[in-house]
């Protein structure tokens, strides 16, 4: 049974340097959100600021309070002074200490900001969690209202911080309805669940066909770990062949996952088998393994006089 997949344009998820760069807090109500937008989803006011900026302003306010307190003490000391000597001592000592304080504060601003951010995460973790749950609900409601792509994008942004299999499977369910293309901004590693699910295996197989460079250790290990269950799936065989085809692009994967690749080497598309053949033959250690022997017997059986297997016809991909 084939389902009709929609041709869509997926929005690009802008990558940020740190996962907390996208998290914002409302200066008015203190709620958190990871979604873009001018207004706070809780109070509606346009007072959202990145958490880093909030932490920085808290650090600066704290430092300013220290400076103000020191200045206050200087003023009080000067007012209480009886003669010029005492005034000079109060003012001189005060100014030196103030200058020292300001100098050290300037050097410590960055670290104090990080400290304040850590405090925010420690004391506001329940509020942050609630904010992200709210963001997730927004995504679900958007999907239910018929806006699949927009809902997917909202959930995808939430998944930057919320790492659970329920959300991953929700995203995969949505992706299943889209006709994926190689030019799309797709993810893989973040969508692999802890336990086996056919949706994950299907998706890995799809990615292996569209963007084989995205197939890395975690995806390969997931496929190998769940190989028997994948074979029971309707298109399980295709998934395994696709992942093996993707894995042969790198010698490291051929070396690490020899058993897996051996099992499907015979069924690889010709150009992928050629690639695998040259990878194995470029490495004497691999060539002497059972995999090397298998390569020769498969070649002799399926491609007896194919010039692509000559030594000077090695594949274009780097080993």
């Amino acid at each position: 049974m084939t389902t009709t997949k929609k041709a869509v344009q997926l929005p690009v998820l802008e990558r940020s340097r740190r996962n907390y760069d996208r998290l914002r807090t409302c200066r008015r109500c203190g709620k958190y959100t990871i979604l873009p937008g001018e207004s706070c989803p809780n109070c509606g006011r346009a007072r959202l600021v990145p958490v880093m900026e909030r932490a920085r302003s808290r650090a600066r306010r704290k430092m300013l309070n220290e400076i103000l307190f020191t200045v206050l003490l200087i003023i009080i000391a000067i007012l209480l002074a009886q003669d010029m000597t005492q005034i000079a001592i109060a003012a001189g000592t005060g100014l030196i200490l103030l200058a020292l304080l300001v100098l050290v504060q300037r050097r410590m601003t960055g670290r104090e900001t990080l400290r304040q951010l850590s405090r925010m995460f420690r004391y506001d973790h329940a509020t942050i969690h609630d904010g992200l749950v709210h963001d997730q609900s927004t995504g679900v409601e958007t999907v239910r209202s018929g806006k699949d792509v927009e809902g997917y994008h909202i959930l995808r942004q939430t998944a930057v911080l919320v790492r659970n299999d329920r959300l991953r499977l929700a995203l995969l369910s949505l992706l299943q309805n889209f006709r994926l293309r190689s030019d799309m901004d797709l993810e893989l590693e973040s969508l692999i669940t802890r336990d086996f699910d056919p949706l994950v295996a299907d998706y890995i197989g799809e990615i292996a066909r569209l963007k084989r460079d995205m197939i890395k250790d975690r995806a390969i290990r997931y496929i190998i770990a769940n190989e028997p269950r994948i074979l029971e799936m309707e298109n399980g065989w295709n998934i395994l062949i696709s992942v093996a085809s993707a894995a042969v692009r790198m010698k490291r994967y051929v070396t690490m996952y020899q058993g897996f690749i051996r099992r499907y080497a015979r069924f690889l598309p010709r150009e992928r088998f050629v690639r695998l053949y040259h990878v194995v033959h470029s490495d004497p250690a691999l060539q002497s393994e059972v995999l090397g022997q298998d390569m020769e017997s498969i070649r002799a059986e399926l491609y007896p006089s194919d010039p692509a297997f000559e030594p000077d016809a090695a594949g274009a991909e780097r080993p």
């Binding site: 005492q86 109060a90 911080l161």
Partner: protein, 48 residues
């Protein structure tokens, strides 16, 4: 009255020195950006 002025200077001195020592101590304990990322992920996902 003059003793109060000196007391004020002493308090100011102790306050500033305590702040400087506090900064020096916290400099080594300041979290890195990677630690903050992990802290946030743990805080968000531990309740799941």
């Amino acid at each position: 009255m003059d003793i109060l002025a000196y007391a004020c200077v002493a308090i100011m001195f102790l306050f500033v020195v305590s702040r400087l020592l506090s900064y020096a101590f916290r400099r080594k304990k300041a979290p890195s950006e990677e630690e903050l990322e992990k802290q946030l992920l743990a805080a968000v996902n531990e309740r799941e």
